[in-house]
Amino acid sequence: MTDQPDLQAVMEELRRTRQRLQRLEDRQAILDCINRYCRGLDRHDKDLLLTVYHPDATDHHGSFVGPPRAYADWIMKFFDDNRSYHQHCITTHSCEIDGDTAHAESYVVFASVEKDGKTVRLGGGRYIDRLERRAGEWRIAVRQATIEWRCGPASTHLSPAPDQYPEGTWDKNDLSYLRPFRLPAEVMRRRI
């Protein structure tokens, strides 16, 4: 069998391709997890928020240190009591993977509208995370949040939904949950 060595070379190449691909998949899954956190937070979707942590994880956010479920309750109460809107945006992201453990740093820029509906505050910080892959799934095991700058309230909130832009909501009625996504009938009636 003269082609036996060739087959072995192909299998070896396949193995290495598999490794490279796995790395890309891991990177994507980790960034997806961190983005999902923002989405869960901004939609007040506790179920979604809890999918980003392992159940025994620890989150240290300002005065809070504790497990995911208690964190979700704490942060949602804070937003309910103090904010009428907020948005968390992931920007610069770096990530190191070593086997089933990853360390990631993700910058976040946040905007929040206070209860008066007028004052906007902007701020920026970082999420410093240790993630672990368990049962094939990357989730956060330890998170430290930092806040590094804040400004405002030297700013005036313009109407949150000027000129017929729809407003987001903090429940499953938000348009981003709709599958398949389609326009509401009252909007379609206005179609030119």
Binding site: M11, E25, R39, Y85, I90, D163, Q164, G168, I192
Partner: protein
Amino acid sequence: MSKAAETRLRRLEKELRYLRDRQDIFDCIHRYTRGLDRLDARILTGVYHPDAVDNHSGFVGYIPEFVKWGIALEARYASTHHGITTHTCDIDGDTAHTESYVHWFLRLKDSDRVRAGGGRYVDRLERRNGAWKITLRRLLMDWQLEADGALWNANVESFALGTRDHGDPSYQRPLTLPAKLARQLAAKPKPKPKPRTARRK
């Protein structure tokens, strides 16, 4: 090929396809903001399927009209800057649903005021003939503020400003320095390349 090898190859193909889909979709969403900030109708049109619908503000309609409307809207500002941040994506066969956060910063014409805002593009995309493009887009507004932009306007002299036509450096291939900067550079000593050391395997 052995059966095991064939199974592995098939799995690789599937995984690779997923990652490529994710990248193509993300590229499409980024292309939109680039087209908008450069007032480039060709780029904007290219991110939608021909029968796609866009719903922005009071506007709902098909793409040729949307592109005209959108460019006229953005052209009212001295400059615009849209940045995509938090992005989530579900793919199901040839359909994808995405949510992409966007920040915008607008410089008002003939004014020291600037606006900043944030919202989300909620999109349904489809893959047709191998190309992922938007079939339905809605912009949801989350916040917007207006602030004193005197600082920004005061710095215009010292920072290079982009343009909203094909003269913008982002279109240049290959990228080079303008003549004035090239002359400044020519007066500076050029670093000598380091001798190449053997690459570690």
